[in-house]
Chain length 346, copies 4
């Protein structure tokens, strides 16, 4: 059994980690970390775990925790994991960081977009970007995995084959993304109150959302060229789900079959990536509660642009599910273990 | 492996049966019945099953089906199962009927409240009312299980100990129930359109909802006396979940501990019934996607009434989950098999 | 023109007051009070007023304000209005208090249920309970109006004729109420975040909600006898709307016509009370954005109980609309002025 | 008083027309047309009008109706108005058609995108496209107004100044639009059921939505050049509201002030167009129930693209509100009459 500890267990991603790990046959949770609720029963904070989890919330003592577990998940605010990580911890256990601290290789870019000073830039190089379907090999031996952001996961996976196969103009990419409210976390802000989000849609972080450089870095690797994008996230009145609608100009002569083949080439054996049938467009409800990403595309002959859509559950493939998938890879067990939940509909 | 067939697989309860059975280690689905979609791929109708289920939808041929499977689930409109059932079918396989056809022992009551003529009243006596926690023993050997209605499950389970222990006045019970929209099914009605339900709440079926006699029959068994209730269901703008808020007058001298003890007596070893801690009230979100029923009560000293609250997922414990639980009991496997999903929050 | 000031203009009820008064031909808003946002433009806080309102938020200086306006609306937390009110203020302008401070005549009851010490009990007697349809005459000359709570308005109006006409047993009343989230206000609590309320329903304040004594006091006046009730509010995932479903035992021999006549007797000339046609049940969406209360009832012959349903917009008839209606009465203008918005559907 | 008739009064846009005209001081509704509900009381179909409207639903007899009223609103499916219109009708009264029948000047384009044969192409030329802020002068004397589609209104108004002032590349425009469910109408489809839309977001009509050529035609007029766009609508789980997020490449040297000035130039005196302050992005909730369109933009220096956002209520400015605005212009009364409702929040 893999012994796991969760730091930030009382946030939405932390709670989802607990849900997934409780259903995982080869892992057990040894530590429900939550600085805000130390000593309170975890199931008081998330009542869905009543009679399922008996443990109390514990402090965020990473040194102590690293002795007790095989893997630590940090589902904590930006800057927190990097402030606590150390060689000593990494020599004793593996760390999967769900924050952005180790996702971006260029520390200046991180510091500029996040408005933070990075506390431990030395570990950035070692950290592996845990986009499982792309970086599976590197994840295997990683001590420190930077679990991708929700928008970057959906965007990168849905555009990746097009760039790898050189089918679109790298300077033409526009990503219009839509997310449910759990992506905003459980913090207290007027903007996150029910009445402010319900029956409403808005764009936010226009031109300056912090997932932009993360997406650009990954797309640049795929294209083997520098990629700049427009990225506009929107807040949608629903709990879960991300839909990305991306636009790009097709290279000359590229048609349906070239594109379809590109997706098949990279994803046909991927359990968690479903390329939908022609003219069936992704819907977030069809992946809710699951680790699947549904992807499809449509070519507009009139403008010679391609529209690429990706849908996933932001808390699963966009956070906790992908973290568990990374854990499975790191510990050499079947990658799908604990992640084959059928999406829940309705 | 238990071979299972689903009749009505393209309704919401049918889809939930498929979701649960796909995650059940000891069962496999052999037949996705759907008269409306014969020969279309099941995963086209419910896209969440894409790449998970390859089967087409089949006709509702119960005779043929009974040769092919060990158990048939009928998730069909009232009157349909009773029109198809036969001794021949029951001699070959077991049937779990999610409709109301075999729930009510008095056929006249059924015909009056449902406005239908019962096609096969001979099987009513044999049918076992599949409220697992109460009728577990009879379910074991049943050939035909009448799977309880959603409201009756939540109401009966939450009130049962009070009547068995004679703690409340049998003539004082009022049940005010609230349900998400999936309870109304996938049929086309203006009243079920998004814009008619969203941002709205209403009572419906006031004094004449068809679950009333079903609840009364079960409560009467519990009380060993004839029980008449008021039952008022409401439609709430959410997909899943039922909350019942029930009111009853306490017998003289009954206090918190007598009531708490009654719940403990009947439910303390029940996996799927969670009696919450004092002053924690059930919320439907805390059981979503799971087979749990959360129950609690509060005594109003001023009026000497007790308020009993029960919350569950109408598609799981209120339909497909309980049906699987019944299957597990009937086939002698562990009752919780395939049903230990942690509720999903948020 | 009636000059009006709003204290607490940046809460939901305060915003609704502004919306209604801006559409009122005989009133103008002179003061947008908001301690939290002093000097910021009001339309920055509530962006719906952009280009409609140019005013900044001002401090809550009631003495100064009372010189500048004819009427002050206090849409503030419990205990605030009572701490500021004075003879001097009331001698210069009228006050309509949307908090509970002056609603309950027995100060001990107020202090017990609200857990506050009343700062100005001397004004309680003078204050008129502004349930317009019932207390219209007393409102006319009131200097201080206690604007009724949302639940009490809907409950009292829907039950009042039954008690006045002695048609139900005064000890049998149970009120099961459902409210949208705006009733909880704009304060920051985890429980009010979108993801906690959406796709969820729960009871809260079971047996001890603070509107209970307010309702009981009003029902007692109607019955001319002491009335104790059970009152259970629920939180529904929608922005606006209250539905109350009330239960009572009918006096012997009382039938449909006696009840219908009672409602006609008291309400047939009331613009804002709509007694629906037989078997049409109130829905909150049908009154959204308007000052109407929709009421209907159904008799259950089997239990001899009556089920009474009332629906209204909690921010309009349940708060700001009724406050404006009170203002209209107090200033001798047509009671419907500024309040004849047709409900918005969908 | 302007006498108005509504054809299609029991659809969502028809109901909204009724709501707005009932609050309009200089208009009265003489005819509630609804083929599906002839002779039933209008307020039975839309219960929000109970006790407000006493009229029954009438047949769609346009010849008869044209004798009785000054203006006919047709809020009917595509192809219906064009099949009924005639010179005789237009000689007797004015017609404002809320369908697409007369919006597109090139009948072949209409027939291709709508898959219909146009029944009365002779009137296309005469028809005036009723985008009030742009075509105000032509609307004045129009006998037949083609009321713009919801998406085209929001898109065109938000991009128009940029094209008129030649600030963006005409071939670079991508429109990613999001709409609430009322835009889909009140027809019965599985896709429009509550459980299919709630907690879900999807794109639809990708590359072939019928509003595409309508938008392109209007943008082409603005640019005085042929404009092709990508247009991708999405369905959002809310009743009302459209948000368009548009992307375009800026012409060389164009910066914030040029763009801001362009918007000021065309819209600074427009009551219903609100250009928000820098970095405040439109939200649909801020315009709900009103005739306002909120617009803002943001320049991305990195990609030299501009992101333009527009928000409005699809049933008001996107349908019934704009229709009333057109009526006001046609009858020479103040354009804002009956349309100055403050948006409702929350």
């Amino acid at each position: 059994m893999i012994k796991a500890g969760i730091i930030g267990a009382t946030g939405y991603a932390g709670g989802e980690l607990a849900r997934l790990l409780l259903g995982h046959k080869e892992a057990e949770i040894k530590w429900y970390g939550s600085k805000s609720y130390i000593d309170r029963k975890y199931s008081e904070i998330f009542q869905n775990f009543f009679e399922i989890v008996q443990d109390p919330c514990l402090d965020d003592n990473l040194e102590e925790l690293s002795e007790a577990v095989d893997v630590i998940f940090t589902a904590t605010p930006q800057g927190y994991c990097s402030s606590l990580i150390s060689s000593s911890i990494l020599s004793k256990c593996r760390v999967i960081d769900l924050s952005a601290d180790f996702r971006i290789k260029d520390v200046k870019v991180y510091e500029e977009w996040y408005g933070l000073q990075h506390k431990n830039p030395d570990f950035i190089e070692e950290a592996v970007y845990g986009l499982c379907e792309i970086n599976r090999q590197s994840v295997k031996n990683a001590r420190l995995v930077a679990n991708p952001g929700c928008y970057p996961t959906c965007t990168t996976l849905s555009i990746y084959p097009l760039l790898r196969e050189n089918l679109v103009d790298v300077n033409s990419i526009i990503v219009d993304a839509k997310s449910g409210a759990s992506g905003a976390g459980r913090g207290l802000k007027t903007d996150h109150l029910f009445c402010e989000i319900n029956e409403n849609i808005k764009a936010y972080g226009v031109t300056d959302h912090r997932h932009t450089p993360e997406i650009e870095e990954q797309l640049s690797y795929a294209a083997d060229a520098s990629v700049l994008i427009n990225f506009t996230p929107h807040l949608v009145p629903m709990n879960r789900g991300i839909l990305t609608t991306s636009y790009a100009s097709l290279k000359k002569g590229v048609g349906y079959h070239e594109v379809r083949n590109a997706y098949e080439k990279y994803y046909k054996d991927e359990t968690f990536i479903r390329i939908l049938e022609n003219d069936v467009f992704p819907q977030t409800k069809w992946v809710e509660g699951s680790n699947y990403v549904d992807i499809n595309f449509k070519i507009d002959q009139r403008t010679n642009r391609i529209i690429i859509m990706g849908a996933m559950d932001n808390l699963v493939k966009g956070a906790a599910g992908q973290a568990v998938q990374n854990m499975n890879i790191m510990f050499g067990i079947k990658e799908e273990t604990g992640l084959l939940q059928t999406p829940m509909f309705p």
